[in-house]
């Protein structure tokens, strides 16, 4: 119980810091929006219908914006020296992992919830549905679960933030593929029940890598 109280405290700390500065959310959201608009310029008039490329656009925008947010998660701790404070706290190291994971996930989901209606308006697509939200939630979780570990590593290297996408993208290929595939299928009006394989793949990824991250995160923040 104390474990989850510690996790909650870290999430709450991040949310409060974010409410004061709005740094992470605003940069992630503007970046995602810019990505969508640039893709629109890039594809418009070259593809018969934006419906064909919209799933890819949404997921690439989420991936890029998410990378931005994940980087900030540990850069702010490092720059203000508060990482040492977190490490000194008398809780299991994995509480830091889950706290950081959940706050990153929260910020990413918030961006997505606002981005999706905009995509619906800009591309005239019926992309808003609870099924899409389930897919986005599962995909974003997998992305953040792996990304939180890699972000904690990247800030401790010479290259800092530059390294995170290099580490993260090859490992999250399955999540992005499954996400694009499911978002596309739902856009084409296929029922949720036909996505079984992809959903299972995403669940296996999410659960599997949460366990691996839980087991290895302690080594990443060890000083």
């Amino acid at each position: 119980m104390t474990f989850w109280r510690a996790v909650g405290a870290i999430v709450w700390k991040d949310v409060r810091a974010e409410l004061r500065t709005k740094d992470i959310f605003s940069s992630m959201f503007v970046f995602a929006l810019l990505a969508v608009i640039i893709f629109d310029f890039a594809f418009e008039l070259r593809v018969p219908s934006m419906k064909m490329v919209a799933p890819g656009i949404v997921w690439v925008a989420i991936t890029f914006a998410g990378t931005l947010g994940l980087n900030r998660a540990f850069v702010i701790e490092q720059d203000k020296g508060s990482m040492a404070g977190l490490l000194l706290a008398p809780v299991d190291r994995s509480a830091i992992y889950f706290g950081k994971l959940l706050s990153s996930l929260l910020f990413m989901l918030l961006v997505e919830v606002i981005l999706l209606p905009l995509v619906m308006i800009l591309f005239n697509l019926a992309i808003l549905s609870w099924q899409q939200l389930v897919v986005l939630l599962l995909g974003t979780y997998g992305f953040a679960a792996v990304g939180t570990v890699f972000s904690a590593m990247a800030v401790n290297t010479r290259a800092r933030e530059v390294l995170l996408p290099l580490l993260l993208f090859p490992v999250v290929v399955p999540v992005i593929l499954a996400g694009v595939k499911m978002t596309g299928a739902l856009l084409d009006g296929e029922p949720f029940s036909t996505l079984g394989n992809w959903l299972r793949l995403m669940l296996v990824y999410d659960v599997g890598f949460t366990v691996v991250a839980y087991l290895t995160f302690g080594y990443v923040v060890e000083e």
Binding site: R158, A159, L166, L167, P170, V171, V173, P174
Partner: protein, 230 residues
């Protein structure tokens, strides 16, 4: 040390002979594949090099994961050395498999490259281990480098099967252009193939032993340097 060296030299000679023999067998002894155009028939002989390279790259990355787990569990640097050395050899075999596959694909599929599941997975695998080395190179502290590389080595190898399945399903709406199982090996080909596989595996072991020896010397030099105050 001296006896070890002699043993290693002898094994190296055996491995070299094995590779030469495997090449000779593959080019001369192995029967021609039936039912192919002349160009395809010649290109088909690449299977004796291509498949062992591909298999060894996966074995090498698997050994990297074992080394990574070993390091995290024990904290001993030799496990990190094993992970590093094996990953380097793995990249070499990955490139060898990709290059030889490309040479075969041109006559067989009339293209150097297609975005087939296996090829796509392989590209992702190559990128994973390029990132692995980028991560290693971005740190100066050896203990931290070993820890981070070990964590990444585990994530990278575990993601490979999931990536493979996801890419295979991703492509299922397209017709299957070919199936590697379609022309299984005939009886005359099998001994040559397995000989080649054994020779390449021995080559991997030898390369790994040499590379580990180099890593040990490097560490010894570093230690001496520190003692001398350079």
């Amino acid at each position: 040390m001296a006896r070890n060296d002699r043993g290693l030299t002898a094994l190296t000679a055996v491995a070299a002979a094995g590779i030469l023999l495997a090449a000779a067998f593959a080019l001369i002894l192995a029967p021609r594949a039936a039912g192919l155009t002349p160009n395809e028939t010649f290109a088909q002989r690449i299977i004796y090099f291509h498949v062992p390279s591909a298999w060894l790259s996966m074995l090498a990355f698997g050994v990297t994961m074992v080394g990574s787990i070993g390091y995290l569990a024990s904290g001993q640097r030799r496990w990190d050395g094993l992970a590093l050395c094996s990953a380097e050899i793995g990249i070499a075999f990955t490139l060898a498999a990709m290059a030889s596959g490309s040479v075969w694909a041109k006559p067989a599929w009339n293209a150097w490259w297609t975005w087939d599941p296996r090829l796509t997975t392989y590209t992702v695998v190559l990128l994973l281990y390029i990132s692995y080395f980028m991560l290693r190179d971005a740190m100066d502290d050896p203990a931290r480098r070993a820890r981070f590389a070990a964590v990444y080595g585990i994530f990278a190898f575990l993601s490979v099967p999931i990536t493979f399945f996801s890419i295979r399903w991703w492509r299922t709406i397209h017709p299957v252009l070919f199936d590697a199982k379609n022309f299984g090996l005939s009886h005359g080909m099998r001994p040559v193939f397995f000989f080649s596989l054994a020779a390449f595996t021995l080559l991997y072991v030898i390369l790994l032993l040499h590379r580990l020896r180099l890593e040990r010397s490097k560490e010894a030099v570093e230690g001496l340097r520190e003692q001398l105050g350079y």
